[in-house]
């Protein structure tokens, strides 16, 4: 561990507080834009969860994002007639569907001898490309044009003025992002998260401790898929439009860039990376034109080579949970069947 005194916790809290205050001084258009960036931030957290915590590099995270978006769109446009266009059902479907897909994909690719890290990345990259092509040619979901006119988030409990205002939508999205962040953080710092991190550091060793690493990987992948799907649903409700492009390789690799630039190992850094890169892009892409992508690509390479932890990774890293820092002193003989302190120690030394 680098330093005893960590700035991670106060900085994280300050960042969330700052996001809460944005609508007070920003104009309506910026707030709605920021609301969309926040959904990309959730997507980035989902990737950081599977990549930073478990060490599985997924090149197809947008598959889940896009599936969530499409499910939300299809439900609220009443293409699935039996739900009556309910947004709640849409959000639920958009979370459960991608989770299920991630579960199946995980089962398919991890079980048995499984795919090694690099091959998994390539397979997911190919999968994203195939999904995009299939989406372009499926008429039920709108083909090339995608789904248009998806209704914005509504407040069904209010009579009369049902449509949420820009600021209200923003707070719904921000609240979702915060809840997802806290939930993912809770998982990361729970015993489950310890096992996941142990798999990242050395899968064989973790398996020899008696953990079914495949099940853990599939579970983590499922959680990540659910997060991405929910983000997709929120994005769609704000953007009002789903096209095949958001399921494909383009967004998949973009989110990879955000997470790598922000910091793959820390949820908050990945989130901030996504929001900031999008934010900077909205300013610079018009000024720099085609040079923006060139610069981003080179900056990405530079980050990977020089700063594997990302720009914010070191800054926003939270201190380890107290129980990990000071493992309970257990008499040596009584320590049977509980490998957690050993795992925690292995993590600290790495």
């Amino acid at each position: 561990m680098t330093s005893r005194v960590s700035m991670g916790r106060p900085l994280t809290v300050a960042l969330w507080a700052a996001l809460m205050l944005v609508p007070l001084f920003a104009d309506e258009w910026s707030v709605s834009q920021l609301g969309q960036y926040l959904t990309f931030g959730i997507l980035a957290m989902s990737l950081s969860f599977i990549w930073g915590q478990v060490g599985i590099l997924c090149f197809g995270q947008a598959i889940f994002f896009g599936l969530g978006a499409y499910l939300m769109g299809l439900t609220t446009l009443e293409r699935f007639t039996w739900f009556g266009g309910s947004q709640t059902v849409g959000l639920l479907l958009a979370t459960a569907g991608p989770a299920l897909l991630a579960y199946v994909l995980g089962k398919l690719l991890f079980v048995g001898r499984g795919l090694s890290g690099a091959f998994f990345a390539i397979v997911t990259l190919c999968a994203a490309m195939i999904v995009e092509i299939v989406a372009q040619h499926t008429d039920f979901i709108g083909g090339f044009d995608g789904l248009l006119g998806i209704p914005p988030l509504m407040a069904n409990w209010r009579v009369g003025d049902e449509m949420l205002s820009t600021n209200e939508t923003f707070y719904v999205v921000l609240g979702s992002a915060l809840l997802i962040y806290l939930a993912a953080l809770f998982v990361q710092r729970s015993p489950l998260g310890t096992v996941l991190a142990a798999i990242r550091n050395n899968e064989d060793r973790t398996a020899s401790f008696g953990y079914r690493t495949i099940d853990y990987k599939v579970l983590a992948f499922t959680i990540s898929g659910a997060m991405a799907g929910y983000a997709g649903a929120l994005f769609t409700a704000q953007f009002g439009f789903v096209s095949p492009a958001i399921t494909g390789t383009a967004l998949s690799t973009e989110v990879l860039v955000w997470v790598a630039v922000g910091g793959r190992g820390v949820l908050m850094a990945a989130f901030l990376g996504a929001v900031l890169v999008r934010f900077v892009e909205s300013f610079l892409s018009s000024a720099l034109g085609p040079y923006w992508l060139l610069m981003l690509g080179m900056f990405f390479v530079l980050t990977v080579v020089v700063m594997p932890e990302g720009i914010f990774g070191r800054l926003l890293r939270l201190p380890l949970p107290r129980s990990w820092r000071e493992p309970r002193r257990v008499p040596a003989q009584a320590d049977h069947g509980d490998a957690k302190p050993a795992l925690a120690k292995a993590l600290e030394s790495s």
């Binding site: 795919l115 690509g297 990405f300």
Partner: protein, 284 residues
């Protein structure tokens, strides 16, 4: 009958050009353990070197020399600037080369514009082969691909350099301690792989639509071929390319391009699922 012959020739020409791309990829992967995501963009640079040569009103055949040389230099520079810093971080090589691919693609967009370029076919007259009229340039492509592939195999399995390369692949520390300069071999292998991709791009450019997105179209099947075939032996790539190329071309001819891409992907997934090491696995 003519349909079958034509399909066979199409399959052969597609598979052979895919082999050119895959060979470079698999040698780089085997020797350096680097998954080169920028390989599609090396192919792209090769294709655009044809555009540049055409704009300068020079004969097409010059590019067969220029493209590999240029890409070898590009490969050397990138290896020196980026790749060698991330050798020991396996996943990061994927990311770094992916970043390179984004930058290179965008560079092409800036220099040549985002739209597709048309290339004048240097061998416009068709020829009669086995009773069908077939574009002669495709036959030329097959010839070049065969020649280069055989040359690569010969170097790899019949020369002293090839022996050294295979030694490094089998056991890098041992090879290094026996006095092989692994650093220099990495550098030149990367340059050679890049040159192969560049040549493939230059050869394929006249029969493809040359646009900045064309690299990915070859990269994905090439990766699938490698995973299907396995990386233990160069013959694995040949097998993978044959399987992927044939499936793709045949299904595309009877059904749509979309069905063909989906089928190829599913086939690859099934094969990888059953034989994770590829069809020609590593001997243990």
């Amino acid at each position: 009958m003519t349909f079958a012959v034509e399909l066979g020739l199409d399959t052969l020409s597609y598979s052979l050009s895919l082999l050119l791309v895959s060979l470079g990829l698999v040698i780089i992967f085997g020797l350096m353990n680097v998954i080169n995501m920028a390989h599609g963009e090396f192919f792209l640079l090769g294709a655009y070197s044809v555009v540049a040569v055409q704009q300068l009103h020079m004969p097409y055949w010059l590019t067969l020399l220029i493209a590999p040389l240029m890409l070898a230099v590009v490969g050397l520079i990138l290896e020196e600037l980026v790749i060698r810093h991330v050798y020991h971080r396996f996943i990061d090589t994927i990311l770094a080369t992916w970043g390179i691919s984004i930058a290179l693609k965008q560079l092409i967009v800036i220099v040549f514009g985002p739209t597709s370029q048309s290339i004048v076919n240097p061998l416009p007259e068709p020829v009669h082969v086995l009773g069908v009229v077939y574009p002669s340039f495709r036959l030329f492509i097959m010839g070049v691909a065969l020649l280069i592939s055989f040359a690569t195999f010969w170097v790899f399995y019949r020369t002293h350099i090839g022996l050294a390369i295979r030694g490094v692949i089998a056991n890098r520390p041992m090879a290094a301690s026996l006095g092989l300069n692994t650093r220099r071999m990495d550098r030149w292998t990367f340059a050679f792989g890049a040159a192969l991709a560049g040549l493939a791009g230059a050869v394929m450019a006249p029969i493809m639509s040359v646009d900045p997105q064309m690299g990915g179209g070859f990269l994905i099947p090439a990766f699938l071929s490698i995973m299907v075939g396995g990386i233990a032996h160069l013959l694995g790539v040949v097998l993978g390319v044959a399987l992927i190329g044939t499936t793709g071309t045949v299904i595309a001819s009877v059904d749509t391009q979309v069905a063909s891409q989906v089928a190829v992907f599913l086939l690859a997934i099934v094969v990888i699922r059953i034989w994770p090491e590829g069809l020609i696995g590593r001997k243990r």
